[in-house]
């Protein structure tokens, strides 16, 4: 069992605290992974190992869960995550064209992060504000009624 600490000591301490709370719950593994990702922003292999040993399951099982669900990240994300909704309502209103333009501008595919760790581009599932379609989010900020002309304007806003 690995005793190696990953991240800051505070992060590790918080992880151990969260795992302790979940020990008495039925079916705790996914909840633990969600808690861990909230701390680290992604799931380093050491953290998956720690979760596996805490709950007496194999690392393979934890890794299997991590790769099954879209929301678990195995790699750190960029400073800004641009999530473009590819739900049906957004798609028929042209969100496919918007994501293409982002790919072209950032030089990455959906699911990838730019080399400077600044932007991650995600194609997301319906986020439920279909009234504003097509929609995208940059971290928690929502932008609606998009056209391809908005792409450069939005990128410029995060040009820090």
């Amino acid at each position: 069992m690995s005793k190696e600490i990953i991240g800051t000591p505070q992060q590790w301490e918080q992880l151990e605290k969260e795992l302790e709370v979940l020990k008495n719950e039925p079916g705790p593994v996914m909840k633990a992974m969600q808690a861990a990702q909230a701390i680290y922003g992604y799931l380093p292999i050491e953290v998956q190992s720690k979760i596996a040993s805490t709950f007496g399951v194999s690392l393979e099982e934890v890794y299997g869960i991590a790769t099954f669900y879209a929301q678990f990240n195995l790699k750190p994300k960029g400073k800004y995550t641009i999530g473009i909704c590819l739900g049906t309502a957004c798609y028929v209103k042209g969100s496919g064209l918007v994501i293409d333009k982002f790919k072209e501008r950032l030089g990455i595919e959906a699911g990838e992060t730019t080399a400077d760790q600044k932007f991650t581009l995600d194609a997301t599932r319906c986020i439920g504000c279909c009234g504003l379609a097509p929609v995208l989010t940059v971290n928690d900020e929502v932008y609606g009624n998009l056209t391809t002309d908005d792409v450069d304007k939005i990128l410029a806003k995060y040009n820090d």
Binding site: G27, K31, Q34, E61, F68, Q71, V92, C126, I127, C129
Partner: protein, 595 residues
């Protein structure tokens, strides 16, 4: 003291994305500054439904329905309407009565034909305050069942109501309750399926955001009926506002002793816990959801045994969808007979739809079963924008199909939709106009299912992938007529042999578009043309010489220098260089470029 006016600010996801939280804060500030905070009540509500015109603010007692409200407008509403009693007309709907006066909002076409039963409290009460729910007969139905009815009597009422599962399948809810009731075990569970994954569907989210207690109360009633003491709500993590309001609602119910070891002091135990999804569409399938709620990979289980026999943690489990629960308290309080008066012979009650796509009034609507698609689209939805023609409506998400314009007068209920090759689904209703390519839409849904297939069974994992590849080939202009037949065969094979609902319904978008829009497939295959001008490989851009004035705007807009021409002379596009990005069309002011 009773307030003289109520200001309701929509706090649904759509309006929140449009900054309604800041509007609420601005009202708080300005009401205080003008010493109005004691006499005017400000409430953050759930969704009003008319998302296309959000953010929405409603002021009572006048019933003024302000739309597209901006933070800057708040001052005018406070100073003019609240202080001086003069309604701010410029923020109202443009729909007028014959005499030119503004129509009351519940008389406008969007609201008039609706029947808000499940959504009765959405946009009316503050979902973060249990007292408001209690004031609207909240938790009365639970009291009634525990004090006046046996568990079997409760189940009989649900059966008699004819309520069917609103998650899509349409299984009779009362039967489900009966099966779970009949199972004998030391522990049973009540589960709420709030993993609303259909793209373009947000009914369940809006109900949880707008009236979370009605779902909690229904789960308590279900717990009493089947003999369960514990409930789980499995909700998508993509719905942060709904998750937050559920947490608040559960905590308030605990604080009031409504949930807990002696629920409402009536001698029964009931507790509810939230489980968050992590982004997997298949988890909306009930057995996959159970695995996921247990913290595992969300792969479906073989049925039988059904969840009513062996469900969550191996115990008998009742699992219903959010909207199904949303009907329960009303049925208990008003009786089964009242409920059966709404709807059609085999589909009782109402259905909530999320209207989206190419439609004027995007938003959330609740209609009695049996209403025609025409009424929904033309009256409630306000028709298709920009003078375009209605082409198809898609229901049932990736499991459903497209309803063509020729069937627009079909009354909407479970059985009619199945008969025309679609399905009710959870309630997403996406409207498409002539600019939508049906082959591209089928490909879009297949791409979704291929991505979301859990991979457990072969027909779904590999079959859908092959289906997708054939569709892709067709949109590239490389398809053959044999491909169409092959696709159809493969569709039926996948439907018959997949393990769970995801695979069994995945080919539906292909089958229904092949059935109603075969000519479009043929155009792609035989004529190498995309009639809607969507599939890039089959579109070519051309400048109409007669219309071109040679202004050069298109030339400057073209990112690959594919356009040449002298000033004031007609320009031309070099098809070999053109990447079909559409920048020239956007730049041209003379409509001189066609594709």
């Amino acid at each position: 003291m009773l307030e003289r006016a109520h200001i309701l600010v929509c706090g649904g996801t759509g309006c929140t994305s449009g900054n309604s939280k800041k509007i609420y804060d601005e009202f708080t500030k300005l009401l205080k500054e003008n010493n109005l905070d004691k006499e005017v009540k400000l409430i953050m509500t759930g969704c009003f439904g008319l998302c296309a015109r959000g953010p929405i603010v409603v002021v009572y007692p006048d019933g003024a329905f302000y739309q597209h409200v901006k933070v800057e407008d708040v001052q005018e509403i406070v100073l003019e309407h609240i202080l001086k009693g003069r309604i701010v007309e410029r923020l109202l709907s443009k729909e007028r009565e014959a005499d030119g006066s503004v129509k009351p909002f519940n008389e406008t076409p969007f609201y008039k034909s609706q029947h808000r039963l499940v959504l009765r409290n959405c946009g009316v009460i503050n979902p973060e305050n249990i007292d408001e729910y209690l004031a609207y007969d909240g938790y009365l139905a639970y009291q009634k069942v525990v004090t006046e009815m046996t568990p079997q009597e409760v189940i009989d009422v649900i059966k008699a109501s004819g309520l069917r599962g609103r998650g899509g399948g349409g299984f009779p809810t009362g039967m489900k309750w009966q099966f779970a009731h009949n199972s004998v075990a030391d522990q049973k569970y009540v589960v709420c399926n709030a993993d609303e994954g259909d793209p373009g569907a947000f009914m369940d989210r809006s109900l949880l955001e707008g009236d979370p207690h009605s779902v909690i109360e229904a789960m308590m009633i279900a717990g009493y009926a089947i003999g369960a003491t514990k409930g789980y709500i499995y909700v998508r993590a993509e719905y942060p506002i709904a998750v937050n309001r559920l947490q608040i609602a559960i905590q308030q119910a605990l604080d009031y002793g409504i949930l807990g070891s002696n629920a409402m002091g009536l001698g029964h135990e009931f507790n509810i816990e939230l489980r968050l999804g992590a982004g997997a569409f298949v988890c909306g399938e009930e057995t996959a959801l159970l695995n996921s709620a247990e913290g595992k990979r969300g792969e479906p289980r073989q049925r039988p045994p059904f969840p009513a026999v062996k469900g969550l943690f191996g115990k008998p489990t009742l699992i219903n969808n959010v909207e199904t629960y949303g009907n329960i308290t009303a049925i208990i309080l008003n009786g089964a007979e009242w409920f059966t008066q709404l709807g059609t012979e085999k589909s009782k009650g109402t259905k909530v739809f999320a209207l989206g796509g190419k439609i004027t009034n995007t938003g959330l609507v609740e209609i009695p079963m049996g209403m025609t698609l025409r009424t929904i689209i033309e009256e409630i939805g306000g028709g298709i924008p920009n003078g375009k023609k209605f082409k198809a409506a898609q229901t049932g998400g990736p499991s459903g199909g497209c309803i063509p314009a020729s069937l627009i007068d079909t009354p909407i209920d479970y059985d009619n939709l199945i008969a025309i090759g679609s399905m009710m689904g959870s309630g997403g209703l996406i409207v498409m106009d002539e600019d939508t390519c049906m082959v591209d839409i089928a490909k879009f849904f297949l791409e979704f299912t291929v991505d979301e297939s859990c991979g457990k069974c072969t027909p779904c994992r590999i079959g859908n992938k092959r289906l997708y590849e054939m569709l892709d080939k067709i949109t590239q202009g490389k398809g053959t007529m044999e491909d169409l037949d092959k696709m159809e065969k493969l569709c039926y094979y996948i439907k018959e042999n997949s393990l769970c609902g995801l695979g069994q319904t995945a080919p539906n978008p292909v089958l229904s578009t092949l059935r109603y829009f075969r000519d479009e497939y043929v155009a792609h295959v035989r004529d190498k043309k995309c009639p809607a001008g969507v599939c890039k490989a089959l579109v070519s851009y051309e400048i109409i010489a007669d219309k071109c004035v040679g202004c050069g705007l298109c030339k400057r807009g073209c990112p690959v220098n594919a356009i040449t021409g002298e000033i004031r002379q007609p320009h031309v596009i070099d098809p070999d260089k053109c990447i079909k990005c559409g920048a020239c069309i956007a730049a041209c002011r003379k409509n001189a470029i066609k594709k």
